[in-house]
């Protein structure tokens, strides 16, 4: 609880929804909040009643940046919402950061309003944060399936320490009189929520694939990129890390660096000057800086200028000198101008017509020491960036000191 354990001195608590997020249908906002209240009323004697005007105990609103209290929101990511412990005026109120993408379902590119509201209403009722991983009152947002979400025991213990157990069978939140006045806001543009996409989980076949040996002559890669002077080779969920600072190759997994990223990248490249690496999977891409995934990702690859007919890319490589990034799709390639953030005219072009000696698709591409390396299966092709001429052919894992 909060210091001095503030709580509501009554069992009937009112709430009012002051405004709505344009990210969701109003009805979905109301349902998410009602469900969140029901989580708490089902384990306590509390009853929650929605009112449509005047002062309610718990005033719920969406806002961004500075919004009238001393705790401004911080744009996408970071702080998602906050709420005040029971008390008069701002006491009990819950504020949601409108700069987030609020969703009805748990998806990987938005925050479940139900989950965050349930957490914030815990504060509105007097609970502080829990350090029990998996508890609803744990401070960090944990995406999870909310269809038949059950309140974790730690949260039940906490709220019952304040209000005791329910007397009669769990009460559904009672609706107040139908609104006498039109709702506070003109209905926002209804946004049709995307049906919940399957959570991008790492493909976990019955038997997890074994990491291939470093010097397996058939070793091929999904994607390769530099990162702050190091080189990372990706295959499935595995990463081979080659660092100029250490002689041996480090063996990692994608989830050890970026827990929320899916396995099985299609392509990756670094824009060194921006300390930024982009990962591609299917028709989405993510941007990371070190271990941090930039907020607002993933984004559709069409944002980069690909036509909708392109559903995934095979490889990508950035040329720091020209500020151009080459994307390889099938037997063609595109050139993307990182300065203007747009595709160059006259593309796509055939790979074979510009890169002599590269007569096939490219699985992965790397730029190192002023040369391009195009990977195809267990082979790689070293190409001079300027002349685009083939210099030599090697095994893909020649970087592993085999």
């Amino acid at each position: 609880t909060f210091p001095l354990s503030p709580k509501w001195k009554k069992e009937d608590v009112t709430y009012r929804i002051l405004n709505y997020t344009p990210d969701m249908l109003q009805a979905d906002v109301e349902e998410a909040i009602a469900k969140a209240f029901q989580l708490w009323s089902s384990v306590t004697p509390l009853r929650f009643t929605r009112v449509y005007s005047g002062q309610a105990d718990i005033m719920i609103s969406f806002a961004s940046g500075f919004h009238g209290d001393f705790y401004p929101f911080d744009g996408p990511g970071g702080t998602l919402a906050h709420a005040y412990p029971p008390g008069s005026n701002i006491g009990g109120d819950a504020h949601f950061d409108e700069d987030e993408n609020w969703t009805k379902f748990t998806t990987y590119n938005g925050y479940s309003l139900f989950l965050v509201a349930a957490h914030e209403l815990g504060h509105s009722l007097g609970l502080g944060h829990s350090n029990v991983l998996g508890a609803l009152m744990y401070p960090i947002y944990m995406a999870r399936d909310t269809r038949d979400y059950k309140l974790p025991q730690d949260d039940i213990d906490g709220i019952q320490a304040l209000y005791g157990r329910p007397k009669e069978p769990p009460a559904l939140p009672t609706k107040a009189f139908p609104p006498q006045e039109p709702t506070e806001m003109t209905p926002a543009e209804a946004t049709t929520e995307m049906p919940p996409r399957k959570e991008p989980t790492e493909t976990t076949p019955s038997k997890a694939p074994v990491r291939p040996q470093d010097c397996d002559p058939h070793l091929s890669f999904d994607a390769i990129t530099t990162l702050r002077g190091e080189t990372l080779f990706f295959k499935g969920s595995y990463v081979w890390r080659k660092s100029p600072y250490f002689s041996d190759i480090e063996h990692d997994t994608i989830s050890s660096f970026w827990p929320s990223l899916v396995a099985g990248f299609d392509a990756a490249y670094e824009v060194d000057k921006r300390d930024r690496v982009l990962f591609f999977k299917d028709n989405h891409y993510w941007a990371v800086s070190g271990y941090s995934i930039e907020p607002g990702f993933p984004k559709p690859i069409q944002n980069l200028g690909f036509p909708t007919s392109v559903r995934k890319i095979d490889a990508a490589v950035h040329d720091e000198n020209t500020k151009k990034t080459y994307f390889f799709v099938g037997n063609k390639y595109w050139s993307f101008n990182e300065n203007t953030q747009s595709m160059e005219r006259g593309y796509p072009r055939k790979i074979a017509s510009d890169f002599h000696g590269i007569g096939h698709t490219v699985d992965a591409a790397l730029q190192k020491n002023g040369l391009f390396y195009f990977f195809h299966g267990a082979n790689q092709y070293e190409v001079d960036i300027k002349s685009k001429k083939l210099i030599r052919k090697m095994k893909s894992n020649s970087w592993f000191n085999c």
Binding site: T79, N131, Y141, R228, G229, Y291
Partner: protein, 82 residues
């Protein structure tokens, strides 16, 4: 990963803000603490690491920083809003 120098300064600023918001960290202006070589920020980092079950080192390592960058509730972890 190797840390880009200006990145380190940025991350220290970010961590300071995080600890102010959620762990009631106040950067002591007084030279007294500095003379005593007490490092209040390391104490607060330890407090945050302990709350999240991280290895308590008092150093801003990448796991601690990664935890600080997770999307979260705006309420403090150890003190209610004044």
């Amino acid at each position: 990963f190797p840390v880009v120098p200006e990145k380190e300064k940025e991350e220290m600023q970010f961590a300071k803000k995080y600890l102010e918001n959620f762990y009631d960290f106040k950067e002591e202006k007084s030279s007294l603490l500095k003379r005593k070589n007490l490092n209040p920020m390391a104490d607060k980092i330890r407090e945050m690491q302990s709350f999240f079950g991280l290895e308590v080192t008092g150093e801003l390592n990448h796991k601690t920083l990664a935890m600080m960058k997770q999307p979260r509730c705006g309420m403090p972890d150890i003190r209610s809003y004044s």
